[in-house]
Symmetry: C2
Subunit: 513 residues, 2 copies
């Protein structure tokens, strides 16, 4: 069958189940439900601190076929996923589904567990490195299921993704399970992605290298959600957790794109008092923040909030009074961690509050402007950030689809070419984010506006910006480097790409070798 | 039938259902569940701000037989319950169950709604004033159901108490439903009791007199839980909301009791580094805090936390460094509100985190010492704080049973006589808190230790405190004022007293007139 975007999907996928085809970004709302949760009551005399990960696994009654979850605030410095999976493997457990909010190169040992049948399924919002390559090569028994950040929260809360045991990497924790991310040698700041896991998993285990006296304040995840606590030597490598600083691009082409994107924002009329904004930590995205900052300061604009993964650059804008508040699901650098610890209006947010389409209004719904990246974008404005142009998984939505859907103005900033390949194509390799939620693409050679946004097109025509159709933009690129060769795929589905509402927007097939 | 305390209970109560008899304070734990929640999704284009309470009621599809909930942070200054119930009455709706965490004299207009059949059921953790009297006189169609603070959270979360529409009195709110209690003309501090309602009700309406720009930080209840927002002129009378200051008793008898209670705490061995403590806002209780403070300062003791409804006196102890943290479900005075706004380690807690026995460990489980009041206490240490000695409802558990069950040492402080009536009796009029969870009673004439606590009795025998049996204490009182006359009751059950786990610990019957 085909979904509304014309992507060909099986009706049923082994290890996934029946496919609900994507039918439009706002077509699957209405009344939804959050699942029942089972709780093992803790009496006053009970002790929650256990000796080892193995003891916690035994107490949680780990068995074949279970789903265990992890969150990615420790990013490429994370030790927790590997520690737990090694223990599970040692215990001889098989057929485990790993629901990790993101998977990084540091998680390479998972590949061995996949080969040995310890791990047969993966859920992730983002994957890069050896595990992503192994999945793309078809090593995993069942297809990986790729969510958006908000979609993962939705799946957990609705029960679509049933977590048996959640493991919380806890930078600071007390013996009763109060957790925060702002203190300790592995401090990472906000623990937003772990909150749905903690609230909805069957059992919850906190793993900490900084066990402090009760109560561990400020409490980000409270004792009422945690069954067991394990103290280990180290939960992560600080060098991999947060970067010291996130940097603006110095590349003149990147700066040019950022400047043009800022002019698009100005022309849209959104850059006024009450302005809200999100951008990733990429070099061009940060450069947009820099130019927006200049405009806000010049014109005395007082914004409402910035959201997302928070960088030091956004903290600077906040501390200069350009924003009233920050909504933070994950801190990207030490400055963000420090601000989150100190500033009351630097608020944590759960993945659900951030982007879940099935709650009473996520923060993304309040965004004026979102700055997005792209690996490919097609003439219908569909964006791929899941696979590379070689068809291999190298990313995933993360918050891409959530923020695109929620924001009033979603702008893709990208160079027109990536190496010798055009970014604008007829048909993206994989659809991550549907074109109906993407408003503009800004490249160094030209800007294309989604035809759905005639209002915006009118406004941009009054500027000196190089506005063209997306077909023209595609032609520009093709004139420079030609049309890229088609990649050939097997039939085998190696990953299912779920839109934030749980429908299937695309599948990733195995690349022919 | 009789429950384990020998209280005679019907097996079935009209308007309540089957009675599960109380079978011991820690006998009904194990695996429990939190209920499924239905959510009306909010899309980016949706607006949550509505014009009036009536419009909110219509959007929430109010109808006969529904349960609507309220919380009591505005205490005897609350306007919200009356405003909403008046609107419901005007709309001609009947047979409403009012689930208010507490009911105060200011809610007298409810009596008229009870008489007219608009309100046929009441759930409350505490009731005083005209509504309590009306219930006691049998005016309400169905028996009132009285919870503990933790038990109400449990009932809401498990689905035993199904709330159709929750109304949140919001001292500060934005148009998307982020709420805090720390700013605005009706600032009341922590909104802990409202959190289960917000998380588990079918629909949630915030009613505010301080609508601020998005986002209202710090967020205590977030937009993901709120369906509609209504702006009104005023949600409460500041004079009734928080007292300017809470005061220590000056009565020498009260001070003597407090001094003795403090000596009991010292003798128990609990008053050392890491000490945790809760006391109510009553004059004798606060005096205990004063003496405990003196001991802590003298001996350089560094406590862990104080919890509960927080008073300025406890804030002083916290700010002097005697406690590392405060857990606050409700601020009792302006100083507490101010501290809650400013101090990171002055943490809010939901009613569930505070006292729900069916979660993974409530804060009460971590209490060393709890100072309790009593209207009556019987020779088995069962305590009544629900009915007066005339059999009329004048209170309720609130956190009484929760803290007694959780704490290592639960001390009742009371004068031996109340007017011309003895406090210690053979059988309390109503059991609120079971004797197995009460360790000591301290009166000006003597101290009795629960025989279950031989360990404590041994320690106290080494002091000069006037230790005696509870029977001796009773005799002392009776020698002074004689044995009180028995109150005569009808068969009609006017209130069901649920223990925190949802079993029935007692019923209140109609007083014979």
């Amino acid at each position: 069958m085909e979904n509304i975007l014309g992507r060909v999907l099986p009706e049923y996928i082994e290890g996934y189940g029946e496919v609900k085809p994507f039918s439009g970004a706002f077509n699957n709302l209405g009344i939804k439900s959050k699942k029942q949760v089972s709780v093992k009551c803790v009496a006053p005399s009970d002790v929650k601190l256990v000796e080892s990960i193995k003891e916690a696994l035994i107490k949680c009654e780990i068995k074949d076929g279970m789903t265990v979850s992890f969150h990615h605030h420790l990013r490429n410095g994370d030790y927790v996923l590997n520690m737990v999976m090694d223990e599970i493997a040692k215990m001889g457990i098989k057929d485990i589904r790993v629901a990790a909010s993101s998977i990084f190169p540091v998680h390479a040992p998972l590949v061995e567990h996949i080969k040995n049948g310890v791990v047969t399924g993966i859920y992730a919002n983002y994957m890069s490195g050896p595990v992503a390559e192994a999945v793309s090569r078809g090593l995993l028994k069942y297809p990986a299921i790729m969510h958006t950040h908000g979609g993962r929260a939705r799946a957990i809360e609705s029960g679509d993704l049933k977590i048996d045991i959640a493991f919380i990497a806890a930078p600071t924790c007390d013996e009763y399970g109060n957790i925060n991310g702002v203190y300790g040698p592995s401090a990472c700041g906000s623990l937003g992605y772990a909150i749905p896991d903690a609230m909805y998993a069957g059992r919850v285990v906190a793993i900490t290298d900084n066990l402090v006296a009760y109560p561990a304040c400020p409490i980000e995840i409270s004792q009422e959600y945690v069954d067991y606590i394990v103290k280990v030597d180290s939960i992560g490598d600080p060098k991999g957790i947060v970067s010291g600083t996130t940097k603006i691009t110095k590349d003149p082409v990147g700066l040019k794109i950022a400047k043009m994107a800022t002019e698009v924002i100005e022309a849209s009329g959104l850059l006024k008092d009450g302005f809200s904004f999100q951008t990733g930590a990429g070099g061009i995205s940060l450069a947009v923040a820099k130019y927006v900052r200049d405009v806000m300061k010049k014109n005395g604009i007082k914004g409402s909030f910035a959201a997302g993964g928070i960088t030091g650059y956004i903290v600077d804008m906040f501390e200069e009074g350009l924003f009233e508040a920050l909504f933070d699901v994950q801190c990207f650098d030490l400055k963000a961690v420090e601000s989150y610890r100190r500033n009351v209006a630097h608020q944590g947010m759960s993945a659900s509050l951030y982007g879940n389409p099935h709650n009473k209004g996520a923060v993304v719904n309040r965004l004026d402007v979102m700055i997005l990246g792209a690996t490919e974008i097609d003439v219908n404005f569909n964006v791929n950030v899941t696979t590379g142009s070689d068809g291999v998984i190298m990313g995933g939505s993360g918050g891409h689809s959530d923020t695109a859907a929620g924001s009033k103005l979603a702008i893709v900033v990208t160079k027109l070419l990536k190496g010798r390949l055009p970014i604008v194509v007829d048909k993206v390799t994989t659809v991550t984010t549907p074109g109906e939620t993407v408003d503009v693409i800004v490249t160094e050679r030209g800007i294309a506006v989604n035809p759905r946004r005639q209002d915006l097109l009118e406004k941009l025509k009054e500027t000196n910006l190089p506005i063209m159709t997306i077909e023209e933009l595609k032609k520009l690129a093709e004139n420079m480097v030609g049309t890229p060769e088609k990649i050939e795929f097997d039939d085998k589905v190696v990953a299912v790409v779920e839109y934030r509402d749980g429908t299937v927007i695309d599948v990733v097939r195995k690349v022919k070798e």
